[in-house]
């Protein structure tokens, strides 16, 4: 680690990280259905291709251009979920080639998360570890990189997660939302250490600046509209002396989907590196580089779970009502039976049902107000999504009842291995594991 003393006139490192994800959406499934094909392949293909054309391809090409233009001074990070990688392979393989090209520039870092973009951390530490490992492996296979920085689904985070990640022994940092209620007077523009950890570092999203791009960019009622690259770079410059890093974490669909091309979002991004780099003390860094460069400024204590969702920054978007908690409990209750069946198709189907979006669609929080939750919801109502999910779960259940419950030896051994890795610092995990086995 470079020895960096604290400067009063510091550098501002801009750290971009883009979340890239699509769920495998379920097809309409009534209680009378008994087809084992649960996923709406046609709709998923359609949406995948649409988003590829509006976002992934043009944005990847833009980032590639910028990397080449600035000769290694422009860097970004991505976290691409396993379920999206599968869909890209099937429906838009050209996107994968652009990600591959990005990987080969050496200026792009890939992060790790749960393969299935799931809430498994909350319900099955075992399953969580398995999904993380699966994701790491896939990233290695596809892009020749081994992720060293971890982000949990929807930036769900607490001290326990940090401890768990540290104990896995293969990560240097974890990412979280820089929520006001955990930071207090402190700024997200520094590296921190999670409470209870020694080696692991914590990078916190600067939600204000991130959301300026991701949400407010095209809002004409916003006092700062229109947001230009040089205006934004001035705000970044103000961080100098008050922080070292500006963590801009957002959904990749910001570029072309949430913010359409007509809003000028691509042009904004095209000019941003130039404006940022105009100031000689500024640079771009990947999350790993940030962690290597800057010493942690303190310890951040997050005893209760937080996320990057809605104004509450909590878990209410996925678990706020009785339907959601019921659905997720019933899902994870099947774990033992599902894994015991040894049927890989069954296991994969069960895992694809874990994607957090399925529960997001059941959210009734703002249903009557017809807001952002509704826009991306393929269902007419949260109730329809719950009914659909539960009907499919019923069929899943039937399928694993058909299989004898004896677990194949290989599976048990693998699970035991994972348990060992995970056991070191977390007594709670023991308790959970004891429950499962």
């Amino acid at each position: 680690m470079t020895n960096q003393s604290i400067r009063t006139k510091g550098m501002a490192s801009v750290c971009f990280y883009f979340q890239v994800h699509q769920p495998t959406r379920l097809r309409h499934y009534t209680v009378f259905d008994n087809n084992i094909n649960y996923f709406d392949d046609r709709k998923n293909a359609e949406i995948c291709r649409k988003v590829a054309n509006k976002c992934y391809l043009p944005a990847n090409r833009l980032i590639l251009d910028l990397i080449r233009k600035y000769d290694g001074r422009f860097k970004v990070a991505y976290s691409v979920t396993g379920v999206l990688l599968e869909q890209l392979e099937a429906y838009s393989p050209e996107v994968l080639s652009t990600f591959d090209a990005l990987a080969r520039t050496g200026c792009v870092e890939f992060l790790a998360e749960t393969y299935y973009h799931s809430l498994s951390f909350l319900y099955s530490r075992n399953e969580f570890a398995a999904q993380v490992n699966k994701h790491v492996q896939r990233i290695q296979e596809l892009f020749g990189q081994t992720p060293r920085v971890f982000r949990n689904t929807e930036l769900i985070y607490n001290n326990d997660l940090a401890s768990l990640i540290e104990s896995m022994g293969c990560f240097d940092a974890v990412i979280s939302e820089g929520a006001d209620h955990i930071l207090g007077y402190r700024s997200p523009n520094f590296v921190y250490t999670p409470k209870g950890c020694n080696r692991l570092r914590l990078l916190l999203k600067n939600y204000s600046l991130s959301d300026d791009i991701a949400f407010r960019f095209s809002n004409r009622d916003w006092s700062q509209w229109p947001l230009t690259a040089d205006k934004f770079s001035h705000w970044v410059n103000r961080v100098n002396g008050n922080g070292f890093v500006v963590n801009l974490f957002m959904d990749y669909e910001t570029f072309g989907e949430h913010q359409w091309e007509e809003t000028g979002i691509f042009d904004f991004m095209r000019h941003l590196p130039e404006e940022i780099l105009r100031h000689p003390d500024n640079n771009f860094k990947t999350p790993s580089e940030v962690v290597k460069t800057y010493q942690p400024m303190g310890v951040v204590d997050v005893p209760h779970l937080i996320s990057w969702a809605d104004t509450e920054r909590d878990l209410s978007a996925w678990l706020g009502n009785a339907m959601q908690s019921n659905a997720i409990h019933e899902l994870y209750r099947l774990e033992k039976k599902i894994k015991g069946s040894g049927d890989q198709n069954l296991i994969n189907d069960w895992r694809k049902m874990q994607t957090s979006d399925h529960f997001y669609y059941m959210c009734t929080k703002y249903f009557a107000d017809g807001d952002v939750h509704k826009y991306f919801n393929p269902y007419d109502s949260p109730y329809d999504s719950y009914i659909n999910f539960m009907n499919i779960l019923g069929n899943l259940h039937l399928r694993c009842v058909k299989h004898p419950p004896a677990a194949p030896v290989g599976q048990v051994a693998q699970n035991a291995e994972l348990l060992t890795v995970v056991r070191q610092d977390s007594p709670q995990v023991d308790a959970v594991a004891a429950e499962i086995f």
């Binding site: 209680v31 009378f32 009785a322 019921n326 009734t364 249903f367 007419d380 109730y383 009914i387 539960m390």
Partner: protein
Amino acid sequence: MRVFMLGWEFPPFISGGLGTACYGLTKALDEMGVQITFVLPTVVQSKYATHVKLVSHGTHVELASPTMQQSVHTPVKVQQLKNVVFRTISSPLQPYLTANSYQQKIEESISKMQASHGRAGKFAGTLDYSGDMYTEVQRYADLAVRLAANEQFDVIHAHDWMTYPAGAAVARATGKPLVVHVHSTEFDRSGEHVNQMIYDIERMGMHAADRVIAVSYLTRSIVISRYGISGDKVEVVYNGVERNGNSNLLVGNTTIKKDEKIVLFLGRITMQKGPDYFLRAAKKVLEKIDNVRFVMAGSGDMMHRAVEMAAELGIGSKVLFTGFLRGEDVNKIFKMADLYVMPSVSEPFGIAPLEALDNDVPIIISKQSGVSEVITHALKVDFWDVDEIANKIVAVLKYPPLGVTLRSHGNYEVRKLRWKDSAARCAKIYEEALVGAGV
């Protein structure tokens, strides 16, 4: 503001949504201080039979059912309506009549009177049974004009087609502006086989009116597209729901076992309400779940057909027909129900689902209904999609959290639908009508 209101029944003798809506609206207008002369048709028979007695100036109202057997009438205290004066016009007109059912009704009345008086041809009442329904509607109009001559008012408000000729006639005679309230249209009631005469009357009324009130955007679009009314003349005023609150009722003994789920259909058993879709969905549900009972509470022209259909489908033992329910019986049945289903083919609004939500019963409603415009916390289906109706019924019965969430959100949502707001909108429309008429 003084209103000459051409309305319908008053509780507890309400035969459906029209009466409920008139009552709810009038009560809310009364609370706002709007003065109302409420005109309704009643059947006044000979002094030997029961009679309807209405005491005006609204301190309290005594009502007796014309259908009650005893000659002693039981006064029913309706709550204080300080600003409402009641006027009655002798007429056998009732909501939901068709030409045939009117004839039937007349014939029944005639034979009843013949039986009690033992004479033919001579009646003590002022009723004229010589004509058919349309003649009676016109006669009602003439009588309304005569009644109006002795009343003071600023605007006329007519509810549903049978009162449109009366409204138009009074408007012509007095020069006051007319507001017609479309609670339903022939297209809702009869599908595409509209009765030309009723259609003509509806059209006449809407064109004669200064303002038209529709109970939903669904109805408003029918008014515009099928009746040729200009969009800026038609306003939407949603119905409200009379909140009964959660009274702790003791439910009496029934033949329904306690662990059986109850799926309720409450409404007139007529084509418009989709009773056949209800029964077909019931059959599908019974393929998956056994301990459920389907209750059809109501009566109507398709009642016998429904009973037959249940038998034909082989689900006769699982379907209960209660006949027409009113008053406290309605609340009781809601308290027993696990789910309320309204598979209406074309429902201009639909107050019953709101009453269900008010009683903590989750609802499945047809997308082809006005009420689906105002409620988000309900399960919605296309009325023809029997598989989906069954799917949703099974889901509610099988997955308790679904009902829990629907109930708690729905109950909260329904509180926003108050007659107070409907009345306020009507009052505003009265003002607009006055301005428009240059009064």
